[in-house]
Symmetry: C2
Subunit: 150 residues, 2 copies
DNA sequence: TCATAAGTAGTAATAATTATTATTTACAGA
DNA sequence: TCTGTAAATAATAATTATTACTACTTATGA
């Protein structure tokens, strides 16, 4: 996943505004800034990381608002909460189907696409489980930086 | 994954004791009970859930010991911390390669095996990422109980 | 059996997240 | 454009999950 460029970001923000209106969510300055920051980020930030970045431009925003907004946006499917092994929750705005490689040393999360996995059939064992809405692969290991760093 | 029967459990516990000695971990009553409870469980319990179950048999155990022990056993690869979307960490003792289906309504985690996934080649995009040590599939959806429950 | 280092219980502290409440804001309708 | 109102926010307090500290206890090897 790459950073969105200036044009893409504008498109994303416009789409975001429309999605908010559709979901009966007021388009507040705070929500826009939080979404913008998350859409620009490439490191799956936590609520606290986002707060520390946003407060530079929006000095009165509260950490609570960041938490609340992330929860709201997640509920409406506008952002995603990323599964981690850490206690802090992390988020992403990338909605295109993708998967994660997680470094268990530094915690970095890298996005990648994996078509062959996307197309593998779910095992018969699960046919009676329920309704599956999403599938994700998580690869764990040590990223190059951490391998070298040793 | 099925419950281990009485015989399997004994084998597991013996293996556990050996693994502890190998790792220079003292074989304490508490560690045995925590591992036993986790090995018998089929619901990927949290530290608190385990504590509530164990305290019935071992009334003096502390929650801190459960947390500390789980962290120790995880560090030595004797148990696994399961990735979830919740804030509470959850654990499992199952060491055979398997994957998880998670109900996003009730949070239940179901184990399943998926050989075709295990054998799919990792995408070229990731060849420079680092050293991959583990791969997991996570399916998300609504389990049958929750579908019916509506 | 005994020494000792590791482990535990009990308690206190910290980190992450959520709730409460008074104030402010977005936005639909006049 | 102005205004009323429900929704959202900021500030603060409270909870929840986890970890740290300390004095006591126990597993293990000599």
């Amino acid at each position: 996943m790459k950073h969105p460029n200036k044009h893409d970001l504008l498109v994303l923000l416009t789409e975001f505004e429309n999605a908010c209106r559709k979901a009966d969510l007021k388009v507040t300055h705070q929500r826009l800034e939080i979404f913008r920051e998350l859409a620009q980020a490439h490191d799956h930030p936590s609520a606290e990381m986002l707060y520390n970045r946003i407060i530079k431009r929006l000095p009165t925003i509260s950490l609570d608002t960041v938490y609340r907004t992330l929860a709201t946006l997640e509920k409406h499917g506008l952002i995603t909460r990323v599964q981690t092994l850490e206690s802090q929750a992390r988020f992403e705005a990338e909605m295109i189907r993708h998967h994660h490689a997680v470094c268990r040393k530094c915690g970095a999360i890298t996005d990648f696409s994996w078509n062959t996995f996307d197309e593998v059939q779910v095992p018969a064992e699960l046919s009676g489980w329920g309704r599956i809405t999403k599938r994700n692969a998580i690869l764990e290991g040590i990223c190059n930086d951490c391998v070298k760093g040793n």
